[in-house]
Symmetry: none
Subunit: 186 residues, 4 copies
DNA sequence: TATGAATGAGAATTCATTCAT
DNA sequence: TATGAATGAATTCTCATTCAT
């Protein structure tokens, strides 16, 4: 079902404001606050997003779906090493560009929207398959599951985000550390 | 200044309760809540710990000081590789056994207690020196600062803590990944 | 003015849902809620029934008119004792079968629809006449007005409704108590 | 445990305001509203009375206990007819002087305070005993339980309260109707 | 005429902090 | 020094009503 023009406009505005909040370092989105900043009534926010979690998921749903797509592309690549790295880097970039929002959603036990659950599940399955091939090819440590990889990449993103400084290459270096750490040794 | 016997007893009880809160996954300590659970008045809590941050620092101050001591020991070790790993592992263990409390303190920009600031500064200096030697010896990536190492170990601890499962070896594996990732490649 | 077929259908559906609400013990009808449950837009509800009171009156208007008719029949009866009891019992049954809705309307100071006011007025006049004859015949206490009788029967119905249990004869017993209580003593 | 002087003062003021609300016909007490009218912070209200129901029970607890005491006195009376009437009249007066508050508490399925439950239970037991004797003596209809009597007296009080007019004898007349109605006929 | 999105007042509730006792 | 009552700002959430489509 398509939204009414003004409803859509409001929805977009709310997402914009929420994104700014996230960018400002505020992961705990407050619906009232967002309503005020977006210049709409509180009720409007609650109609669109019943809970902060729902808003967060709407905010990063796009990125989550892109990750699923990226996982599919990775699985289609011939070079499994390159594929795995591609997947990792893409995930890392997504996590960073959503200012921690995607990280919260990916690590949440419960989801507000079942579409989110579906995407997360699919991402998990695809990643597991990618990991299986990587294990077979001997390019990634065998003692790690798909969940481990997800946790670690979120952890490293956390490391980048908690200490914001001007160093532009820092995130790249941190990702490098992770990539090297995941490699099958010996 | 020494505390009166009952004041000391209260202080200890408060710290106990706060520790339990942390262990229960609640990093955002609520002073009122803690007062109630400790069976003391709110005023008493505020007298001892003016802010949640102060309580947190009191809670992990001991561990922070131990880390400083450990850093000193590490600097006294002949094998720099072993020393660095020893430092890293100790930090990681401390972070885990304080249920994220130490992590919050180590990453905080502002400290409540100047003793905390002093300890953190000293830890920074000692770690930097350790890192300098590690760089010289070529056992740790050259593009990382002491702050980077601290962030990364906190990030990996974050990865362990956000997805609690029964796997007992998980934290060991994650630390392994970090250690391998920090190694000077080539 | 006759309603369009679909408008009529909507109206009926709304009344049905409202009746279910009442039956469920919810006398405070919420127009939004009813719209949702009826599967129509809120605006539609407001068009048909500007206020909850209007909806309530529409819901029990039929019963109210029946009571007027019953009062007329009672006045046509020869045996005034039987007539009064007939009237009382009919009222009581109507109150019960509308789950308190009719009671609210009968006791309301202000009416939403002037048809309701007219019916209530007429009912009052007819009851007063019935009561006058009953007083003359010495079968009902002389110190009671038509309003008193109405209040008391509503009160007894309230007694039945507030404590719902399985006892099927309870309402009959309560009505008996009322009838006996209204009788001219001595 | 005794309350602090100011706490007690606040508590009394809150009860006063709540009583005025009831007297004004507002049985649905709103804690925020009461706080404002009493000139205290909202938190103070919530500390004293966690829910509107708790406030209501505090408001009429005294009367409820008096009813228990009255029931005991009634049981000590020799003339069971007089005793029953005394009990009924006392209950009715209490219901009226609490402006419907006591009625709500007496008919509530769930209580906020277990003291209320205890008092209600005891009142039920004592009334049942009183009723048993009245049945034996043949002065009250045999087909009524203690719960029935309570419901009916609440119902009649409802009849008095829903249609407030200047007639001072009305409540006395309504009570008379009830008393006569409850009498064992034949 | 029907729809349902938007509104926003306001009710309910929490909680960090202060301060009287 | 300890207590815990009081505060009231802030937040969450609901819902009756209006109005754009």
């Amino acid at each position: 079902m398509t939204l009414r023009a003004d409803a859509l406009r409001n929805r977009e505005r709310l997402l914009d404001v929420a994104r700014q909040e996230l960018a400002g370092g505020n992961v705990a989105l407050q619906l009232n606050d967002i309503a005020r900043k977006a210049g709409v009534g509180v009720g409007t926010v609650y109609r669109h997003f019943p809970t902060p979690q729902a808003l967060l998921e709407a905010l990063v749903g796009e990125q989550l779906n892109q990750l699923v797509e990226i996982a599919r592309q990775a699985l289609a690549m011939a070079d499994i090493q390159a594929a795995f790295t591609f997947m990792l880097r893409s995930t890392f970039d997504m996590l960073l560009c959503t200012d921690g929002g995607l990280s919260v959603v990916m690590l949440a036990i419960e989801d507000a929207d079942c579409g989110t659950t579906r995407a997360k599940d699919e991402l998990g399955v695809l990643t597991a398959e990618l990991l299986r091939r990587a294990h077979e090819a001997g390019v990634v440590r065998r003692d790690l599951t798909a969940a481990d990889v997800r946790n670690l990449v979120c952890g490293v993103e956390h490391a980048v985000r908690t200490w914001p400084d001007g160093d532009q290459n820092r995130s790249a270096r941190y990702l490098d550390v992770l990539i090297q750490g995941l490699r099958q040794s010996g």
